[in-house]
Structure formats: C-alpha cells, structure tokens
Subunit: 264 residues, 2 copies
C-alpha cells in the first residue's frame, strides 16, 4: 500500500484537482485507490459530488475517534476509486485537537487500525493507493497527513510564489522525519497549471528542476479549462472529458507514478 | 481611515495580488496606504521585495507585543504606500497564541494604540487606507484581520469552488460581528482571475452577482500574465507594466473603491 500526501501550503496550486484526477487515473489503470479529504474546505468531497451531512461519518469523525475509518469510506462513480469525504465540521478540528494526546498522529493511527484489521481478515492490503488532499497550510491537519503518509508529492504551480514556500515545506518534512515518521520521503514534484506559452511558466519550471534534480515528474499538467469545469458536475476528468488534454496529462502522470512502484 | 480585510479561505484566488495592486492604485490616486501582511507565507512582503530577517520587527513581533506597530512599518518603492511586512516566524503564531489573553484582537489593539498616538500628536488619522492580506484559512490570523477591519472585501476567483466557501465565510463574518466587532461589514466582492472567453468564468460571475446583489464590483480583474510576473521583480503592476490590462483593471477598481468613501 502506497500512502502519498499531496501538499503545498501555497493556495490554489492544483492539489485537489490532482488528488482527484491522479486517483481516478490510477483506478482506471486497475489500482484500488482511496482519496482522503483533510481540507476543511472539503473541496475534494465537493469535486466528487459527495455531500456529507453534519455529524455523519467523515474525516472529522475519524480524527475525533468517533468512527472507525472503514465505516466512513464511500464509493464514488469511478470503479476502484473510493473516498474518505469530509465537511465543514473539520474546520473546528485544529483548535479542538490542539490539546489532544497524540494530536499529530490521529490519522496515522486510524489508518493503521483499518489496515491491520483488513490484513488479519483477508491477508492482503486494503488498497494499493491512499492519497491525502491537504489544506493550504502547515497546521495540524497537514501534519496529520504527513505523519500518516510514506511519500510526499508536492503540487507546484509554475509561477513566482511557487519556489518561495518550498524551503519551508522541505523544513517541515525534515521535522516530521526526525520527530514523528523517519520513513517519510519527498518522492515527487508535480508541475500544475503549466502553460508552455508563458515565459514565466517555462522559467519557473526550469528553476524547480534545478532546485530538485530527479524529483520533478517529466509529465506536467497543463492548464485546461475542462479540469476546472469537471468539479461543477461532480465528475473526474475521465468522466467529464475523457478526450481532453487534462485527461491525457493525468493518465500519463499515473503511468509515471506506477513506474515508481517497487517491483514485487 | 478605512480598514479593509481582503479574505477568502479558498487558496490562490488573487488576495495578495489584489492587496498589493489595489493598495498601489489607491496610493497613485493620492491616498496614503499601509498594506499589512498577515499570511505566514509572507507573499505580500515578497511581492514588494521586502525581506524581513528573523526576529526583526514584523507583523509577528507586533502580534506578540514585542514591537509597537509604528516601529514595524516600512517604506516601499511606491509613493504613499507603506507596508507592515512579515516572515515565516508568523507560522508559529497560531499555536503560540492559541492560549493568549485576547488572542483574537491583538492586531486590532496594536492598530488602536498606533492610531490614538498619531491622532494625539498630529490631530489627524495616520493613513487613509489600511489593507490586510489574509492567509487562505479562517484561523486565528484571519480572525485577527477581521476583528481589526471595518470592511471586508472578498476576492473571488470565477471558478467552481468559488461559491462553495462563501457561505462559511459569511457565517464567520456574522460570528465576528456578534462576538467581537459589530461594526464589521462585507462591503465588496472583487472578481479575480476573470477570463471573459470562458463560459465557466461568465457563469460563476453571474451566480456571484445573483448571490450577493449590489456587492460585486463592476470592475473585475482579468487574467493577465504581467500580474503574475510583477512579483518576481518585487514590483507593483504600476512599476512593472503600467500600460498593461492588469494596471488598468486595478486603477479602475481603485476608482470604484474611492467612490464608496463617505463624502466628508
Ligand atoms: N490544470 C488545470 N487547468 C485548469 N484549471 C485548473 C487546473 N488545475 C486546477 N485548476 C483550477 O484552479 C483552481 C485551483 O485548483 P485546486 O482547487 O485544485 O487547487 P488547491 O491547491 O487544491 O487549492 P487550495 O489551496 O484552496 O486547496 C480550481 O478552480 C481548479 O478548478
Ligand atoms: N489577474 C491575474 N492574472 C494573472 N495571474 C494572477 C492574477 N491574479 C493573481 N495571479 C497569480 O495567481 C497566483 C495566485 O494569486 P495570489 O497569490 O495573489 O492569490 P492568493 O489568494 O493570495 O493565494 P493564497 O491563498 O496562497 O494566499 C499567483 O501566482 C499570482 O501571481
Ligand atoms: Mg484544495
Ligand atoms: Mg496570498
């Protein structure tokens, strides 16, 4: 089971769009996938048309210890793709959990219980991929995502502010590695909202490649309005516009992600 | 003195770009302006080329009570435009201040002291406009911005997720009005990153106008790459590309903001 946190404290860079569509592309390639919404904006849940009423099972109730993770998972309209959705209740979690015991590892512990029980019953992993959509901050919710994941994918918009936040993020990942989870590793950087016609986009992409040699995916995700339209219909790009450049980009990214899998 | 918080918990919608360039446009129109960076990403400070070393006066040291606001203000390269910059120290503030007495109104109190002292010495207001650039969340830092401001401008990207977060934001503004600051009012909605060629942009703009009749500025800010390039040079749009559509849009927005001023 690969657990990957999609993160960047810079807002609006394509984290949610990537979690949904990379998840869907991996599912189309035959991998079993769960996408987890840990953003109080609940944009991932919204994108998939999942509306969680207040007090219903959600990421929030899992973190608060009220619901086992298995009971909060829901099906989506895509085969092999399930979700752990959330709602606005989650926006209270950072303050509510500020004093809780083990507050940084609540998500990790809930996943561990789910995984162990599944392996005991069936002898195999519950899923192939677990993807976390993080909020645009480095607070307790994102820390929970990083502590629960083994890999980090950084979504980077190829614009000026992209490079600035990265040093802070790398510092936080280092902190988590030292204090909470030595196995955590930054394994991929995904260029999002890329526009090959803009000199700014090309220049920033070049700088990101120089800064993080070997970590930046060859496949960037180009700006494509179909990707921005799909969420209004509660659909992945493959359901909304399967022939679009957006669908092609995410399918190619998924192929590159699969290639990284350790051969059995 | 008008105090305006530029806010939206949705990330990457144009808050920082608007605070800098609306601030600069008001300054060019002869108003004295201070822009305040209350985002731990310190994107506003970066955009203006202001690099604040650790432990130097900043929004962080003002909130922690270590520096009077007057001592943390810095000049910018634009006439009539000053800034209260910050740095990454601010990212610790939300947890550090979680238990502080009056934690929601630290910024308001610092501004009140600065204003009262200035009026005592000179008999007039310290500035005409105080603009706050808020982070993409509704945590303690954004609450401080809302409690210190009399007006709220909502920056809205004309895309699907734009409408979703607005009901939560309106709820929070109501909470602040009831509990902290009855004078707070949502007085403007600024359509940002608008692309007239996209049906999605036109549709969302129509919905935002229906949802908030009379609050949406007639002047929207169109997508213009010069606006994304200017921060890499530490410049406002008026310094970097004064003839660009981006400069024209922000100048027209500033004129509309000035028209709202109560006539003396
Ligand atoms: N490749 C793309 N082409 C066109 N539009 C895109 C693309 N990727 C994302 N978008 C749009 O850009 C906006 C920001 O994307 P998204 O919400 O996925 O970013 P995010 O990083 O998750 O934001 P936040 O920081 O608020 O969580 C959304 O309106 C989305 O529909
Ligand atoms: N009108 C515009 N045209 C082109 N690019 C723009 C425009 N407005 C903003 N941008 C670019 O879009 C990105 C997001 O804008 P900005 O950083 O101002 O948003 P924000 O809401 O402050 O983000 P955050 O939520 O991270 O604080 C930046 O790279 C910025 O340069
Ligand atoms: Mg998101
Ligand atoms: Mg900003």
């Amino acid at each position: 089971m690969r657990t990957i946190a999609l993160i960047n404290q810079k807002g609006g860079v394509g984290k949610t769009t990537t979690t949904v569509n990379l998840g869907a592309a991996l599912a189309r390639a035959g991998r079993s996938v769960v996408v987890v919404d840990i953003d109080p904006q609940a944009n991932l849940s919204l994108h998939l048309g999942l509306d969680v009423p207040e007090n219903a099972p959600s990421t929030y109730s899992v973190l608060m210890g009220n619901t086992p993770l298995a009971d909060a998972l829901v099906e989506t309209t895509s085969e092999n793709l399930r979700a752990l959705p959330t709602n606005i209740d989650l926006s209270g979690a950072e303050l509510e959990l500020a004093g809780a015991f083990g507050r940084e590892t609540l998500l990790r512990d809930a996943i561990r219980t789910w995984r162990d029980e599944h392996k005991k019953k069936t002898g195999v992993e519950p899923v192939d991929y677990l993807l976390f959509d993080c909020p645009p901050s480095l607070g307790l919710l994102s820390i929970n995502g990083l502590a629960a994941a083994d890999e980090v994918f950084l979504c980077v918009q190829t614009q000026f502010f992209a490079l600035q936040g990265m040093s802070k993020l790398v510092e936080i990942i280092g902190l988590i590695q030292r204090r909470l989870h030595p196995g955590l590793k930054l394994t991929g950087i995904i260029p999002c909202l890329y526009d090959n016609r803009l000199k700014l986009s090309r220049e920033v992409l070049g700088e990101v490649r120089r800064y993080f040699p070997g970590l930046v995916f060859g496949q960037s995700i180009a700006t494509n309005v179909k990707l921005a339209e799909a969420p209004s219909f509660g659909k992945t790009i493959f359901e909304y516009a399967p022939g679009s450049p957006g669908a092609r980009d995410y399918a190619a990214l998924a192929a590159a992600v699969i290639e990284m899998e350790p051969t059995a």
